[in-house]
Subunit: 188 residues, 2 copies
């Protein structure tokens, strides 16, 4: 079914509200139109391209992060509900891969998940105590990893939380982790 331009514009806005990090390619496929059509639609609607959208959303969310310095989250934070949940996106670039295989090095996926888990907790200093993690399939150069963190439980009143982080490329899960983090006080 072919949509009118007005319908398409409405749908495009709705899609981007739900998932702000859709690429023009994704949108073209979703709406069954060409990529240039999507670009034109974005121009008419005043919607910046993906990188610009991520930057805007990420900067707004980083204002909320207490536990890390603004540059210390690995990836761009797309959503953050303090003490509840968070989403970040991290693109695998040349410096993140093994040269031989172009597979992302595990510690970058770990860093994305771990720093998001820490950022979710509303406290000045939060440290990781334990993590149980699982790499479900290799992630390759150029893939965009979307990590979703949510607080599973507050273990006790001393500020210890269990946070689950699942990371996806497109709709395929590539990583899962369970982090126990704790608010840290050094006696000051």
């Amino acid at each position: 079914m072919r949509l009118s331009k007005k319908e398409r514009h409405l749908l495009l806005r709705k899609k981007l509200e739900e998932i702000p990090f859709l690429t023009d390619e994704d949108l073209a496929e979703e709406l069954s139109v060409s990529i240039p059509t999507i670009r034109l639609d974005r121009l008419e609607l005043g919607i910046p391209e993906l990188r610009g959208r991520i930057k805007t959303v990420a900067e707004a969310n980083l204002q909320k992060v207490k536990s890390l310095h603004i540059n210390e989250v690995i990836g761009d934070v797309l959503d953050l509900q303090l003490n509840t949940s968070g989403i970040s996106i991290f693109e695998i670039q040349r410096q993140h891969i093994f040269q031989k295989t172009r597979i992302a090095r595990g510690h970058y996926l770990f860093a994305q998940a771990n720093s998001l888990a820490v950022a979710v907790i509303d406290s000045e200093v939060v440290l990781t105590a334990t993590a149980n993690i699982r790499f479900l399939r290799p992630v390759f150069l150029g893939e965009k990893c979307v990590a979703k963190a949510y607080v599973v439980e507050e273990v006790n009143t001393k500020g210890v939380f269990v946070i689950k982080v699942d990371t996806f490329v497109q709709n395929e899960q590539v990583f899962s982790g369970e982090f126990k983090v704790a608010k840290y006080t050094d006696g000051k």
Copy 2:
């Protein structure tokens, strides 16, 4: 008991054979002499300073590492027995810490342990499948982390191994991890 210079030289060599990454400060304390005395001893014996020693040992060990490109081990490899065990040292520098607290970011300790676990296995491509890790105390700027990895078991004949990694600062354990890694074949 005060040692003669000859005895001290013998002991100094022995200490460094056992633990090549002792600093001049460590040696001065161990042998109950001043740091300048240790420096003079090293000069007379033709023993380079710590950084030089680490570099020599690390380069020799890296020749053995099949699974990672030479620059891909995080930390300097001090010992490597393929399919058995490995030791690396990693000094926490400014770029590894949280600005607020000067505490090392967890993913660097993870990266040291994970890359050592992978390096120990004698295969072209090795990937981490799972990891259960524990941060036992915060590690601070300037501290030297010594990670010791050993293969606990070969799970099956398909090249899956369980590797335990314990990381210490001086004699205090700061990190423990159990990694399950697998030789990777992509069908080629």
